[in-house]
């Protein structure tokens, strides 16, 4: 195994361990949400607040972005810079729109008086979904940095490695979102 391959393997392994820690962080937030979701303190519950169509649209946008991200990586492995940038560009735009929808939802809730300070349920809702949103934000920031690096040096080994990590991160956020959609929105609307 040459040096470059070894670096790849080492970094990817470390990144997976990091993702597991991040997953545990989300697990703790999910547990908190599960404990507190009935504690509406006389305020609105999930059933009163959530718009399933809206959440479904968010989900579809994020899922599509994962798909385009996957395509981007395939082209990156074939060293096709143009297609890579195009597909990651689409991923980026989809990510931005997802984030925009989330910010819209949050500000809408807050202007209606359903701020995170209102009840334990709302605190845990905003924190869980907001933490995911923060991760998406950092993913987008990372994407911008990688765009600049690719424009400067092309798809070097080091850039390809970083791009692979980014795509793992992006898929990871997608999976977490599936859980948020199921547990927060779907179960919130039904149970």
């Amino acid at each position: 195994m040459d040096k470059h391959e070894f670096n790849n393997e080492k970094t990817q392994f470390g990144f997976w361990v990091y993702l597991m820690t991040d997953l545990l962080m989300f697990a703790a937030l999910f547990a908190t949400f599960a404990v507190l979701r009935k504690n509406t303190f006389g305020g609105p519950s999930g059933r009163d607040l959530f718009n399933l169509q809206f959440a479904l649209t968010e989900t579809l946008i994020l899922l599509t972005s994962s798909f385009t991200c996957g395509l981007g990586i395939i082209f990156a492995q074939k060293k096709k810079v143009k297609q890579t940038v195009i597909f990651f560009g689409i991923t980026f735009l989809l990510g931005i729109s997802f984030l925009g929808m989330e910010i819209y939802e949050f500000s809408h809730l807050i202007t209606d008086g359903n701020s995170p300070q209102r009840s334990a349920f709302l605190s845990s809702f905003f924190t869980l979904v907001g933490t995911h949103g923060l991760h998406i934000t950092s993913g987008l920031l990372w994407m911008i940095i990688l765009f600049i690096q690719i424009f400067r040096k092309g798809l070097t080994d080091s850039n390809l490695r970083k791009l692979t990590l980014l795509s793992i991160f992006w898929h990871f956020l997608d999976i977490v979102w599936i859980f948020i959609f199921t547990i927060v929105y779907l179960m919130g609307a039904v149970l």
Partner: protein, 660 residues
């Protein structure tokens, strides 16, 4: 306007109690003296280039150990203040501390000893020793290692910041249990210092955990399969697996508490639907594995020490590894025994009680294995093995107290009593700290090139051991008599004072032991010529760290060794594999990480960020957060973080023509 610039920070906050002024004076004078010395001997550049910005795990390890030693002194002063107060404060006397001060001091003692002393020592030892034991030249991610260290330092400084900038220390116990730690009941900024100090240093530990797992899994020398790893590496791996499993939970818990306090949310408040019991559950889900994070590397140190000083192969290596893994897994399903009295119900309590009892099984396996290793060994009674023997006595003793408390009905009697306090001090002092002392004595020649003075080491051990029992046996008794923990005053009709005074005497005996240790280091440095370790293998060691010279070159191994046996170095020594013949042509170019100051910058920004958040200085918080992100972006653009050391240079260093 002033509010905008300074947030909640006002002149009133500056230190005004005698002990904070004392602390401030010590820190300031110490800082000025250090700065003057550095300037006088023109050492600033040396300090910056050779140490502070270093990515060498050996140097980072030593820096960890130095900071942890300073914090040990600080935590011990807190202990002295607690003990003195309790020895005095009975009947009409109320001691010399107000209840408010007393609360801050026991909180500080717990936090400092767990987060900044024990964790610091362990990360220090692991940094120095694990890469050597697995035959690696460096860690998997050198930059993350310096970053983790500097985040730890940022946490240390932040938790002591109240000495300088004022405000109070947290007064809600070392875990800041909610709802006491909520704004309603702790309106000062003490808990906020606690939050940010632990959050920042906790992220440092998490990064360290990821780094060491990747290092141990991916960077072992050829031939070293997992089941050929030395026990210290194994237990460090277990400990780091626990770190990455539970530190995320700590990060979340502290973050949620901060959301409550800073943004007025309702996770753990007693109003608006908050659930304080959730806090207790979350913090102990981290907290119980944390005590095993502290003790597991100690187990590994003892395995190395026992095997080396009995001059024997470790007895039943695989059952030791299995026991370490068993402890790791079980430690994650026992957290509820910290609050049997919360009212989770008999079934839940029974489950956690039984799981707790189970932990005694793998721990027992370890103890029997160590004793069996000594059996028919040629034992050399040097200081490290004395620490081990002291550990067996105290740890078994404290462990049995633990098993007693794992029975929920019995626990209801001693919950929150001094019996519990005595129990966990027995485990952490008698287990983790004795392990650290054994490790520091054992590996000292590897750190510095000379051994510690043996005689003073033995004296210090006996003072520690006797002092330990004199101070903690009374606490066990007091606990049975009904004394609760964290008492700043008790009625004279209880008749407890003689026991508290005995306990204080015990502390003084321990303090003499600690004083002798300081003396030991000074004397050993002075007489280092007599104790020089010229071979790199002063104890007739068995594992790979002894195959390097003492102290090792910065690249650890000029030639990565080939491992064929569990006791890799023993195997090399016994076999006919000659060390030095014809190696000249085999030297290869070595890629090493460059020094970087980026860890210091990031930690510096996060430190100021934490400070700004404590005092609600919003503009500063935003600027420093952006600063942190910019640092990471700059780092991301730096593709040349390594340099190549040519084989000819390696040869020169190895032949002693250049100092390595």
């Amino acid at each position: 306007m002033m509010n905008f610039i300074f947030g909640k920070l006002t002149l009133d906050a500056l230190p005004h109690a005698w002990f904070t002024i004392g602390g401030t004076a010590t820190i300031t004078l110490g800082g000025i003296a250090t700065a003057l010395l550095l300037t006088k001997y023109k050492k600033w550049k040396w300090l910056w280039e050779k140490w502070l910005t270093s990515t060498d795990p050996k140097k980072i390890g030593i820096m960890y150990i130095i900071v942890a030693s300073l914090m040990l002194f600080r935590g011990a002063l807190d202990a002295l203040m607690i003990w003195t107060q309790q020895a005095m404060s009975t009947g009409s006397s109320h001691g010399y501390l107000s209840p408010a001060h007393f609360q801050q001091i026991f909180t500080a003692h717990g936090d400092i000893m767990v987060f900044f002393v024990t964790m610091g020592f362990l990360f220090g030892l692991i940094n120095f020793i694990v890469p050597l034991q697995i035959g690696a030249r460096d860690l998997a991610f050198p930059f993350l290692n310096t970053l983790g260290f500097w985040l730890y330092v940022a946490g240390v400084v932040l938790i002591n910041m109240f000495f300088v900038f004022g405000g109070d220390f947290a007064a809600a116990g070392w875990l800041s249990i909610a709802p006491l730690s909520e704004l309603q009941f702790s309106p000062g900024i003490g808990v906020d210092y606690w939050i940010w100090s632990l959050q920042i240093s906790g992220i440092g530990s998490l990064i360290g955990g990821i780094n060491f797992i990747a290092t141990i899994i991916k960077m072992r020398a050829p031939g070293m399969s997992l089941f050929k790893m030395p026990l210290f590496t194994w237990t460090s791996l277990c400990s780091m697996v626990l770190v990455v499993s539970v530190f995320p939970i700590l990060a979340v818990t502290i973050a949620l508490l901060n959301l409550d306090r800073f943004f007025g949310m309702h996770f753990f408040t007693s109003t608006a639907g908050g659930n304080p019991m959730m806090y207790t559950n979350l913090i102990w889900t981290w907290g119980h594995p944390e005590v095993y994070i502290l003790i597991l590397p100690g187990f590994g140190i003892f395995s190395e020490v026992v095997s080396t000083f009995s001059q024997k192969k470790l007895f039943s290596y695989s059952s030791q590894v299995a026991a370490a893994i068993g402890v790791t897994l079980l430690s994650m399903v026992v957290w509820m025994h910290h609050f049997f009295t919360m009212g989770a119900g008999a079934d839940v309590n029974a489950f956690f009680g039984i799981m707790t009892m189970f932990i005694a099984v793998p721990t027992g396996v370890l103890v029997f294995n160590w004793l069996a290793t000594m059996f028919r060994g040629k034992i050399v009674y040097s200081t490290p093995i004395l620490w081990f023997l002291g550990f067996v006595a105290t740890f078994t003793f404290g462990g049995m107290a633990g098993v007693l408390m794992s029975v929920p009905p019995a626990d209801f009697q001693v919950h929150n009593s001094l019996f519990l306090v005595a129990h966990f001090h027995t485990m952490i002092i008698g287990g983790a700290l004795f392990g650290i002392f054994a490790g520091l004595t054992y590996w000292f020649p590897k750190f510095t090139g000379f051994k510690l003075d043996e005689k003073l080491g033995i004296y210090s051990f006996w003072f520690w051991l006797i002092g330990f029992f004199v101070s903690f046996i009374p606490l066990y008794i007091l606990g049975f008599m009904g004394a609760t923990r964290r008492l700043d005053h008790y009625s004279s009709s209880t008749g407890w004072q003689p026991l508290f005074i005995t306990s204080l005497i015990g502390f003084c005996i321990i303090a003499i032991g600690a004083g002798i240790q300081v003396l030991q280091v000074i004397v050993s440095i002075k007489n280092r010529k007599q104790n020089l370790d010229t071979t790199g293998d002063p104890w007739n060691g068995r594992t790979l760290e002894w195959a390097t010279k003492s102290p090792p070159s910065f690249y650890n191994f000029a030639i990565i060794p080939e491992v064929k046996d569990r006791d890799a170095f023993w195997d090399i020594k016994q076999g006919s594999r000659v060390k030095d013949q014809g190696l000249m042509e085999k030297y290869e170019d070595i890629e090493m990480p460059k020094n970087t100051a980026m860890g210091i910058y990031v930690a510096g920004f996060l430190f100021v960020f934490g400070f700004a958040m404590v005092w609600h200085i919003i503009w500063l918080a935003i600027i420093t957060l952006i600063g942190t992100i910019v640092c990471f972006i700059i780092r991301a653009f730096d593709d040349e973080s390594e340099y190549v050391l040519p084989a000819s240079e390696v040869a020169k260093i190895e032949e002693g023509r250049i100092h390595g």
